[in-house]
């Protein structure tokens, strides 16, 4: 390899080495790129709702669908409400367990949350839909999810959810579950809690 | 590659890549491929064909779901 005739080869080798090393680096970046990519796919297909808070807060709805969309009275969808707590000493439940709605109809429901501890606690709720497909047809105009909620000791709070089921919902879906999970935020600022998203 | 390689055109590259998707290739055709193809072009054609493959499969799935739902 060190013989003089091989100089051309050595530089060829080095060029190929650099290219391959670069592609390895690009693929390392691609691994991280999969994160926003996955979110975009989820957003587009409604598989999982891992949206950014601001996207969830109704902005999306206002932007891409008119509020006065036609109410489809020929179909009724049963919307169930579910609540989960993730290691949080609260009481969290929907005020009504389910409602029957027509697609396109504006619906207002409430969740009730109570801090049962003698200290203020901050939590944050994440929504999820079953079947997953329903997520993209579920337009929330008002929602407490992704906003931090700090409850004083013993405080009880009623939190509204206002939503419209998109009339484009596939005809074979007639039961949707909206589920919220409350997580405790232990002394975390908003910035760090969304740290994963920022990268 | 002692003899000066002749550069294959886009179609020839695409044809070789499509045969590779099929997984069968005649030896003489392979010798021609190996002699004429530009590796970078093969990679580009491969990625392109892969994307087309995925899109076709997605369309088939959409069609199947449409048929099943109807």
């Amino acid at each position: 390899m060190n013989s003089p005739v091989d100089n051309g080869l050595a530089s060829d080798n080095r060029r190929l080495l650099l290219r391959l090393a670069l592609s390895a680096l690009v693929m390392f970046g691609f691994g991280f790129l999969l994160v926003p990519f996955y979110e975009k796919i989820c957003e587009a297909t409604g598989i999982n709702n891992v949206l950014r808070p601001e996207a969830e807060a109704g902005a999306r709805f206002a932007a891409d669908a008119p509020l006065n969309s036609q109410v489809d009275a020929s179909r009724s969808i049963l919307v169930q409400f579910d609540a989960n707590l993730h290691d949080l000493p609260w009481r969290f439940q929907p005020v009504q367990r389910s409602v029957s709605v027509h697609p396109g109809q504006l619906v207002h429901v409430e969740y009730e949350v109570t801090n049962t501890r003698a200290e203020p606690i901050t939590g944050q709720a994440v929504p999820s839909y079953g079947p997953q497909l329903a997520g993209q047809y579920f337009r929330k105009l008002d929602c407490f999810c992704f906003a931090q909620q700090t409850l004083a000791p013993g405080e009880r709070r009623i939190m509204p959810v206002v939503f419209v089921v998109d009339p484009a919902l596939p005809s074979d879906v007639n039961t949707i579950t909206l589920s919220y999970t409350f997580f405790e935020l232990k002394g975390r600022s908003a910035a760090s809690s969304a740290g994963g998203r920022a990268s | 590659m002692t003899d000066a390689p002749r550069r294959a055109g886009f179609l020839a590259t695409m044809r070789a890549v499509l045969w590779s998707f099929f997984g069968v290739r005649r030896r003489q055709a392979y010798i021609d491929d190996a002699g004429s193809l530009n590796p970078l072009a093969v990679v580009v054609a491969g990625v392109l064909a892969g994307a087309v493959f995925v899109i076709v499969l997605v369309l088939i799935v959409q069609w199947v779901i449409g048929v099943a739902a109807a």
């Binding site: 691994g31 999982n48 944050q124 997580f183 760090s192 | 997984g23 069968v24 499969l57 997605v58």
Partner: protein
């Protein structure tokens, strides 16, 4: 496996003793070290496997506690995949690719030395994690979040070990690509290249493409564990399923990284002992490329139980079923190579034939697993354990042994004992099937994997599997005897050690001199 006797070192200013091995840039030395390292790792992973089988010999907890059991299954997987099988193939590549293409050494000899010497520290870090507070990671070799976020310090050590091994693999892969593309002897055109070089070239590209993705995935876990991010934590807007997508984007091509070089080895051996050229050489190359490309579009078939929408399940089901086609082409080609040949069954051919047989059985269960509804039923059961051991033990490992017996004469200068080689093969294949065939039944009947204790109806098959596992483990000791005997002496091997072996590696003397092809040979 030391291929070099001191007299061959004369005239080369190589340091002696330990320093020689630490500083060597010779592809043969490095190949030998890779193989010794991977065999040691294979034995350590095997000890973990036998501990697992001892615990599962009968219902109830006897040998280990559940927590330690989970550490055993996790480390068995990590050690076998990253410590045993992958380095073993890199070792083969180091030894054989320069010899096969008529190059004097690998393209980047010094980088080659680094990529090997990164491995022992990584292995120490990995195995040492058993002694960390809280023990080794117990999250399964897939390290699924959020379970892996819960783990103790052992998890961090495993992550760093994976990082180091990943860097090593990438450097090895780059070296192989450059060597294959740039260092071929005059006249050794791509289409004349032995199939082993072809499969390794494609494998190396796969490695460069996916190892960094794995590094990214485990880095994200590390960040979730220590830096307050929430890539995989729903509370911060992340998604645990995303980890599985990223992991399997690496993980599925990884499966082919571990099997494609095996295809290459088998494609070298079958024609030699059939005394007939490989059937459909061109198709073999194209089928390999096809498998490599398709392997990027099937990853989520490992995740059917996570609950994808129907469209997703169908997409990945169809794509996965299509992979069976090029794989089938390969098996058909091997059988067609044997057809109307003039066969003889020396140990390498025995292992290669055994490879085709058991690998195809693994292929069948793979096809069955591709059907999403059936997969949902057997996912995370012993059926899947049986499936991937048929593909990885009977596939990759058997091909590695086939290759080792095939090239031992070239490495050591002596023919391996035919009797011991055959004994090793027959013990291995019988005990292998005793171990893993009953696992199909266990999985179908409903035994989940990664459990330290099980319901009573699974007792008899588990007992059989445990007996088989100990038999299989002990059979591997025969290989040590074969290799030691082979190094010490025995029948002198000719340059062309097997009657109709083809290829440049058989034109140099056996054992291969320390430096080969310093003057590039001219091919035809």
């Amino acid at each position: 496996m030391a291929a070099v006797t001191p007299d061959q070192l004369h005239g080369h200013h190589a340091p002696g003793g330990v320093m020689r091995w630490l500083t060597t840039t010779n592809h043969k030395d490095i190949g030998t070290m890779y193989m010794i390292f991977s065999f040691i790792m294979f034995l350590s992973g095997g000890v973990l496997a036998l501990t697992i089988r001892a615990e599962l010999f009968k219902p109830g907890l006897q040998v280990v506690q559940p927590e330690f059991f989970n550490q055993l299954t996790t480390m068995h997987g990590l050690i076998m995949v990253f410590g045993a099988i992958m380095p073993a193939f890199v070792g083969f590549a180091n030894w054989m690719i320069p010899l096969m293409i008529g190059a004097s050494d690998m393209a980047f000899a010094r980088m080659n030395n680094w990529s090997f010497w990164l491995l022992p520290p990584a292995a120490i870090l990995l195995i040492g994690s058993f002694f960390a507070p809280g023990g080794a990671t117990a999250a399964g070799w897939t390290l699924y979040a959020p379970l892996s976020v819960q783990m103790g310090m052992g998890m961090d050590m495993a992550i760093f070990a994976i990082h180091i091994m990943g860097v090593s693999s990438i450097m090895g892969a780059i070296n192989i690509v450059v060597t294959v593309l740039n260092m071929r002897a005059p006249g050794m055109t791509m289409m004349k290249m032995p199939l082993f070089c072809w499969t390794w070239l494609i494998t190396a590209y796969l490695l460069i493409a996916v190892m960094p993705v794995l590094a990214g995935a485990v880095t994200m876990i590390l960040a979730d564990r220590h830096f307050g991010t929430s890539f995989f934590n729903a509370a911060g807007g992340g998604d645990p399923v995303m980890y599985q997508h990223i992991f399997w984007f690496f993980g599925h091509p990884e499966v082919y990284i571990m099997i494609l070089p095996a295809f290459g080895i088998v494609s070298q051996i079958i024609p030699t002992f059939s005394r007939k050229p490989l059937f459909g050489y061109a198709s073999m190359v194209y089928a390999t490329a096809s498998i490599a490309i398709l392997s990027f579009a099937v990853w989520a078939h490992h995740m059917f139980a996570t609950g994808m929408p129907a469209a997703g399940q169908l997409f990945f089901m169809y794509a996965t079923m299509l992979i069976a086609v090029p794989t089938g082409v390969k098996v058909f080609n091997w059988v067609a190579t044997m057809w109307r040949g003039s066969l003889s069954f020396e140990p390498p051919m025995l292992w290669a034939t055994g490879f085709i047989f058991v690998f195809t059985m693994g292929g069948f269960t793979g096809l069955i697993c591709a059907i999403a509804p059936i997969d949902i039923q057997v996912q995370d059961t012993y059926y899947v354990v049986a499936h991937f051991h048929y593909v990885l033990v009977a596939g990759s490992l058997f091909a590695l042994f086939a290759g080792a017996y095939y090239w031992l004469p070239k490495w050591t200068g002596h023919m391996p004992s035919e009797f011991l080689g055959k004994l090793h093969f027959w013990c291995s294949i019988v005990f292998f099937n005793i171990t893993f065939f009953p696992m199909h039944f266990l999985g179908l009947a409903g035994m989940p994997r990664r459990i330290p204790d099980y319901a009573l109806q699974f007792a008899d098959f588990n007992a059989i599997a445990s007996v088989g596992a100990f038999g299989f483990g002990l059979s591997q000791l025969i290989f040590i005897v074969v290799v030691v005997k082979c190094i010490r002496g025995g029948e002198r091997a000719a340059a062309r050690s097997w009657e109709s072996a083809e290829g440049l590696e058989w034109t140099v003397p056996s054992p291969a001199p320390y430096h080969t092809f310093e003057e590039a040979p001219v091919v035809r």
